[in-house]
């Protein structure tokens, strides 16, 4: 009994603070996911459906509408562009983050300045940065394009994140592994290919995941830099201004599913790498 000297203990053996914190946690989760869940639920209404509760019927109607009606906007085209843009941004983010991770394995003159320059653009407000990029492009007479200027604007957002994640991963990388490889006769390239990349692979996948999801739903920085053709977030935004049917919600549901599929694929890849490493044990 002496162990329970703190606070009032009720019949079930848990202190009242447990229920207080539990309630707080439930509220937290509701605040996080409640709004999204409302959208997902309302997207499954039938043809009578509106933009607010209560639910009217249950059907796939608005999903069908999304892919058949032209009046809802260029969903297919913008989705296409968003995915392609995200792939370009992801590849650049992964390559640059990996290389800067390698560069920062040891200290060098001015490394602090270089580091803050790399992550500084995180602080800049996205919309301002977007307007600035747009202005600059107009000034030098280049037309904004989603596959050129938007890539640059999005990289100012994904690269700092990628670099930070890579640094966290690199902090657990032991340089003795590289020295051991060199000692055993590996060339620099063999060391990167056979030792550094495989050890860092889960981290590299995580950087890619960050790059993709950050780019896929980036809005502020893309707004003034995408040019005449919209990316998906821009398309959804313009739809909220003129589409007044639950097909907007259906679009939200579909894009969320795509995001989850990509995250799932990445986590699956990491799990597979780890499983393949572990499964070598009973193989013999």
């Amino acid at each position: 009994m002496s162990l329970r000297r703190t606070g009032v203990v009720n019949a079930s053996g848990r202190p009242w603070t447990f229920y207080l914190l539990l309630a707080l946690f439930v509220l937290y989760v509701l605040a996080l996911y409640g709004p999204m869940i409302c959208i997902y639920i309302l997207s499954f209404q039938d043809v009578r459906g509106g933009l607010v509760f209560p639910m009217k019927g249950l059907s796939w109607h608005w999903f069908v509408d999304l892919f058949t009606q032209v009046r809802t906007g260029d969903v297919k085209g913008s989705f296409d562009r968003s995915v392609k843009l995200a792939v370009i941004v992801t590849v650049i983010t992964v390559v640059v983050s990996f290389l800067s991770g390698l560069a920062f394995r040891r200290r060098f003159r001015g490394d602090g300045i270089v580091f803050y320059l790399m992550i500084g653009s995180l602080v800049a407000p996205g919309l301002v940065l977007s307007i600035g990029t747009g202005l600059l492009l107009t000034f030098i007479g280049v037309e904004a394009r989603w596959y050129a200027s938007a890539v640059g604007a999005q990289l100012s957002w994904t690269l700092p994140f990628g670099v930070l994640v890579m640094f966290a991963v690199m902090s657990r990388f032991d340089r003795a592994w590289e020295e051991a490889a060199y000692d055993l006769g590996a060339t620099r390239w063999q060391t990167i290919r056979l030792v550094v990349v495989p050890i860092l692979m889960p981290g590299i996948v995580a950087v890619g995941l960050f790059g993709f999801t950050l780019s896929y739903d980036e809005f502020a920085r893309t707004l003034q830099t995408a040019g005449s053709l919209n990316t998906l977030p821009l398309e959804i935004w313009s739809m909220t201004l003129n589409v007044t049917s639950p097909s907007l919600y259906a679009l939200g549901t579909v894009t969320t599913i795509v995001s989850f599929l990509i995250i799932g694929a990445c986590l699956g890849t990491i799990a597979l790498i780890q499983k393949r490493r572990a499964s070598r044990v009973p193989a013999h």
Partner: protein, 371 residues
């Protein structure tokens, strides 16, 4: 390369080797050392004394700022480890965490372009040799410390190096395993018949293993030689203190006569000490005298010390039972502690108590003047 002297391939010679990382502090300061082929050499010293830097320079992971490093008679400065035919075992082993034991051991053969079948055959043979066969498919994280050490050894040995360099190989292990793996290292060295250079800060490890002990301080070699010479005949105070087992008495030389010096110890009594060849002393010099703790005999104060024996009167401050011997600590005026190791049986024939007045006695010739 072709004209190598067979049988002396693993002979290492350091000539005037210096290393500075910042341009003005020498971490390694003019080291000259010859390590014979097939020797087990321990570089011993506290952290920061430059021992690991020397090891890394022999291995080819650092280049000396000045001086030459010869292996098998050929200057290897600037050559990569593979061309030197050295292999290094890293402090925490640095096993590749994503590769199985077999792939770790076969790594050196893989980067040389051997086929999978060839390198696995060689790795399997090596694993049989070091009793790792049943662990072939494990990952390093699934191994105990001792097993990891064996993998690291096997991975280094598969390249058939002429010199194996070990950086604090036992520091990652617990006390019990350390003694066991120490023996395995020594046995492995005999089987391979190659030169081992082993860096450690533990004097027990060094004297237990090495043919050649090199005691270092601040980038310089203080003394080197067979383990027994370094332990029993330390040349200076630093070596005596670092290897332990000695009492060090400070004093001033009173008179020097042919073979002996009379030293006035700060403890009050005069001590007769044999002169060490090579150590020049003159009357009035401050000097330190070392006496092995197990060379001292304790007597009752009323006992008469025989001829040729030095005696110091003191009082027992503390007694520690150590099993096969008893550690008796005496009161001393100086800061240095004065300790006597008495064999257990002998002590309990006529045991002393804390606070007893005693005479600490030793034959004149066992004391040593320190430089």
């Amino acid at each position: 390369m072709g004209a190598q002297v067979m049988g002396a391939q693993g002979h290492i010679e350091l000539a005037g080797v210096c290393k500075s990382f910042d341009g003005f502090n020498n971490v390694v300061d003019g080291v000259n050392l010859k390590i014979p082929d097939g020797a087990y050499c321990c570089l011993l010293g506290p952290s920061g004394c430059g021992k690991t830097t020397i090891l890394r320079m022999i291995a080819g992971h650092e280049d000396p700022t000045a001086g030459e490093i010869l292996i098998g008679g050929e200057n290897v400065v600037g050559l990569p480890p593979v061309a030197r035919r050295t292999a290094m075992m890293f402090q925490s082993y640095a096993l590749f965490p994503h590769l199985s034991v077999r792939d770790n051991i076969a790594f050196a053969l893989r980067v040389r372009g051997l086929s999978k079948a060839e390198r696995y055959a060689a790795a399997d043979a090596m694993m049989r040799k070091v009793r790792l066969s049943e662990l072939a498919d494990r990952l390093p994280a699934q191994l105990s410390g001792g097993q990891q050490q064996r993998v690291a050894l096997a991975r280094a040995a598969i390249t058939e190096p002429r010199v194996l360099l070990l950086d604090e190989p036992l520091s990652a292990l617990d006390e019990h395993l350390r003694v066991q793996m120490r023996q395995e290292l020594r046995q492995m060295q005999r089987e391979l018949g190659i030169t081992f250079v082993h860096v450690t800060h533990t004097q027990l490890e060094a004297i237990a293993l090495a043919d050649l002990v090199v005691v270092m301080e601040k980038g310089k070699i203080r003394q080197h030689g067979p383990a027994r010479d370094v332990y029993a005949s330390p040349q200076d105070r630093y070596v005596a203190e670092f290897l332990g087992g000695q009492n060090i008495l400070d004093g001033r030389v009173q008179t020097v006569n042919g073979h002996h010096a009379i030293v006035a110890a700060t403890t009050g009594r005069d001590i007769k000490v044999p002169l060490t060849p090579g150590v020049r002393v003159d009357a009035g010099d401050p000097i330190a005298v070392a006496v092995r703790r197990d060379d001292i005999e304790l007597m009752r104060p009323d006992a008469v010390a025989p001829e040729g024996v030095v005696s110091l009167a003191s009082r027992i401050r503390a007694i520690e039972y150590q099993g096969y011997f008893v550690k008796v600590m005496l009161e001393a005026d100086s800061e240095e502690e004065f300790v006597v190791y008495v064999s257990e049986r002998k002590f309990y024939r006529n045991p002393f108590e804390v606070g007893d007045a005693v005479l600490a006695t030793w034959p004149v010739d066992v004391a040593r003047l320190l430089a």
